[in-house]
Symmetry: C2
Subunit: 198 residues, 2 copies
């Protein structure tokens, strides 16, 4: 990039650090932005600056909002005694898109990992435990990813919550529209073991 002006080079370098973009796609994205300065780049820069100022984590659940409490935690209609525990805000968004869950969330911010020295304190687990009584929680739904790390964390959480509230997890099985031929053995085994009468 010997001849891209310094700011453009810097822009490409920062963009390349976003997940899903490498150096090559960052260059393409920056060129696209420059071509559409008025319609794309200025609004993007302004929105980004605004979000950088206003976005913050909900003190209660870890969701992202613009106030101390996120819209879900400040909505009394969602205090139905259910808390859905997710790893990440992206998972919360995915759950919300389905539109089925009417309770509140708790965003761990990752999974337990001895290797990366991520313990319960790093994952807002004490915060989760402290929410049970004041929010009258009756059931905690563990909606962690079905990875080894997710399962380990779910196991740890289940042990912590045992006896205080009922603990459930999402059902595992064949995804809607899933083709058996493309599923891994573990999913097929789980789906077979949990088979239901038609």
């Amino acid at each position: 990039m010997a001849d891209a002006p310094r700011d453009i080079e810097a822009l490409i370098e920062i963009m390349a650090r976003l997940p899903g973009l490498g150096p090559r796609s960052a260059r393409r994205a920056v060129l696209q932005l420059i071509k559409k300065r008025g319609a794309l780049m200025r609004p993007l820069a302004e929105t980004m600056a605004r979000v950088a100022e206003t976005a913050r984590e909900c003190l209660n659940c870890g969701n992202i909002g613009t106030a101390d409490l996120c819209p879900i935690c400040s909505d009394d209609r969602r205090a139905n005694g259910l808390i859905c525990v997710v790893e990440d805000v992206a998972d919360l968004w995915a759950m919300e898109r389905s539109g089925v869950f009417k309770g509140r969330y708790h965003v761990l911010g990752g999974t337990l990992s001895a290797l990366d020295s991520i313990g319960p304190e790093e994952l807002r687990i004490p915060r989760l435990l402290s929410r049970l009584e004041p929010e009258g929680v009756t059931e905690v739904i563990l909606a962690l990813n079905a990875s080894i790390a997710g399962l380990t964390t779910a196991h740890y959480l289940a042990a912590q919550l045992e006896g205080r509230v009922s603990v459930t997890t999402l059902a595992q099985g064949v995804p809607i529209g899933g083709e058996l031929d493309y599923l891994d053995d573990g999913t097929i085994t789980t789906a077979l073991n949990a088979r239901k009468p038609v």
Copy 2:
């Protein structure tokens, strides 16, 4: 995204319009940005705003710079009578990374396309022709992509330039490190027809 604040939703929507990012990766990128507000998001927003203000197309060649003339067009050492014609600024950057070419460029900004009604005027072709005399051009290197549209445009340009300067194109053949097994038939045919004594 029922519960992402409006600015964050807007940010995701704009990011999803960048090449290489879809809605899902835009969401991931935005979450990453919010997590790293200080180190990533603020610098990105600031650099982007600055580039949106300063970046402009070189009036001579169409390269992107911060002045009326890009660094290459304002560098007298690069006036060696050679002009390399590329489709896009990304191609110019790719040529510059190789570091071999010491002449100047001409960025067409696309390829001729009757379907999209992109004619010579839209591609800075008159501008290219008007550069030949004042810059003492002796050779025009057509470095267009080896696609049908690129080849058509190269053919048109060659006809326009014939008799005024010598016209060359990049050699075609097996790329360095390329494995025959993965190459398309056209490339193999071209490489075979243009075979050279060892």
